[in-house]
Amino acid sequence: MRDRLGLFGAALITVIVLAAVLAPWLAPYPADAPDPANNLLPPGAEHWFGTDYAGRDVLTRVLYGGRTSLVIVVAVLTVSATAGVILGVVAGYAGGWLRDVIMRVTDVFLAFPALLLSLALAVVLQPSVTTVIVAIAVTWWPWYARLAASVAASIATRPYVDAARCLGVPAPLIVVRHVLPNSLTPVLVQVSLDAGGVILTAAALSYLGLGAQEPTAEWGLMVQQSQSLFTTNWWVVTFPGLAIMLTAFAFNLLGEGLRDALDPRRVVK
């Protein structure tokens, strides 16, 4: 990856992931220890990012919020990419009516703007981090299905796959040996491109009160709870928002860098 912006994104991701993983050791205060006597302190030597309405350290909660966000991102992308790739590979490799059915279903899911479908789902489920994961994963898998289907379809027609089929190699084996490995690169690029979107969607759902609930530290929730204090206590809203933006920014840069470096179009061809 010669791209400087992509490298910068990768570096930023590393820092963010490390900060989230090491939060229990890095954070200067306990994640959830209300201290009403010291509420809404501006940023200073004691509290770098200030304290929130309950007197909790904002820096600590931003660090812990990173854990929540990363769990959501990893879970959503694992679930949706796995489900999508399996369905897509089946559709692309098998072809015929099975392909038609799967692709029409993905069309229907793709007809909803992702955030809207997540939102509708999250409304009918109980608000929680799990709900956020389910709601986003349900809207995200069709993209992977479509991508994997196109890769699988192109690979299914290659001479060596034809040859394997003629030699009587069973279909599942061909899929595992040839089709899956070839789908991996474009899917991984897509995953890295999507991570930023997942962060933003999760934050939006939490901001609407459909995701993480108190006392979980979550960036979108933190913004929602303190938004009325923005004018008087800027730090309570600014820092969680910046955290969302930087994380999404880093993932997007990394995703683009990877895409340019690995160019999935070349693989799909």
Partner: protein
């Protein structure tokens, strides 16, 4: 071409049918009894039974689905649990306001995004390009609700340059009442020559529209850049160079039009995304559109209203995609051949 249009229409109808089924399924997933939700927790068994009867909850699922489809088709999109009005009537009032906001944002996105993309492509891999790319990635990475809050606090709250919230100064309704034609305030104000409401709406539009525009502008700029760079590496760009055209002329006069094709098809995607992104912005700026309606419905667990918004936006999305597919054939003569 007519055959293509017919096939594409059929496809769109199939998707809309799927959208209806999916929405129905989601609404049936609501935990707890919808009859209780409607009749209230203190309802008597008789009232509950009446509610069950009214919603047909004792019928088999496929009958319920059929009834749902029939109701939708006859214009009965249910009754909002919050406003106690027909959902379709609520949407009829809210949707134009969203269109107004998102439409303005998309105009900003195209007007700002394309020149910025051209600038980046012109200075490929040099400082302006790097700056444009970093900024446009930042624009698609910013959480829109947070940007809305920040912009509102700074430019409306602190600096007091723009109004804090709302679509226009409601006191104007008494001094210069608006005649409705399209329900889109700014358009109606313009065609009826209602200048007080027109200027007031414009002032109120600036901040939320800029916030909604951030994402599409970034996307349009990035895609314009990528498409232009690809286009300027084609054989025809070499011929144009050999004829003495400069790089800027090649980009703007020859490469831009074919490059606009992918940008255009993206607008449909971005349009739907911007409507939903606009939901959060509408909530912050108290803009009387679909978003504010949906967000209020969320806190009320108003499922018929949410279903209505979901259906409407999905249908608009399908329609937008359809239009773009057809429009593309007008913009790029090559596509007509296929």
């Amino acid at each position: 071409m007519p055959r293509y249009v017919a096939r594409r229409l059929g496809q769109a109808l199939l998707v809309v049918a799927g959208v209806v089924v999916l929405t129905f399924a989601i609404m049936r997933m609501v935990p707890g009894d919808p009859a209780v939700a409607f009749a209230g927790p203190k309802a008597t068994p008789a009232q509950l039974a009446e509610a069950r009867e009214r919603f047909g909850l004792d019928d088999p699922l496929w009958v319920q689905l059929w009834n749902y489809v029939r109701d939708l088709a006859t214009g009965d999109w249910g009754t909002s649990l919050r406003t106690r009005q027909a959902v379709l009537d609520d949407l009829y009032v809210a949707f134009p306001a969203s269109l107004e906001l998102v439409g303005t944002a998309l105009v900003i996105a195209v007007v700002a995004g394309i020149p910025v993309g051209v600038l980046a492509a012109r200075h490929k891999r040099r400082l302006p390009d790097l700056g444009v790319r970093a900024t446009s990635v930042l624009a698609v990475s910013v959480p829109v609700f947070w940007l809305a809050l920040a912009v509102q606090t700074v430019f409306a709250g602190r600096l007091d340059w723009f109004p804090v919230a709302g679509e226009y100064d409601l006191t104007l309704d008494t001094t210069s009442p608006l005649t409705l034609w399209t329900n889109i305030t700014i358009v109606d104000a313009l065609i009826t020559g209602n200048w007080p409401i027109f200027t007031s709406t414009l002032e109120h539009l600036v901040l939320p529209a800029l916030v909604v525009a951030a994402y599409p502008t970034g996307v349009v700029a990035q895609l314009t850049r990528a498409a232009l760079i690809e286009e300027s590496g084609q054989d025809h760009a070499r011929l144009e160079r050999s004829l003495g055209f400069g790089e800027t002329a090649i980009l703007t006069r020859f490469a831009l039009r074919p490059a606009l094709n992918p940008v255009l098809s993206l607008i449909a995607l971005v349009f739907a995304y911007a409507i939903v992104n606009g939901f959060l912005v509408e909530a912050v700026f108290n803009w009387p559109g679909l978003g504010r309606y949906a967000v209020q419905a969320i806190s009320y667990r108003d499922t018929p209203a949410i279903a209505g918004v979901t259906l409407l936006v999905a249908m608009v999305y399908v329609l937008a995609n359809l239009l773009v597919d057809l429009l593309q054939r007008v913009v790029d003569p090559r596509v007509r051949l296929r």
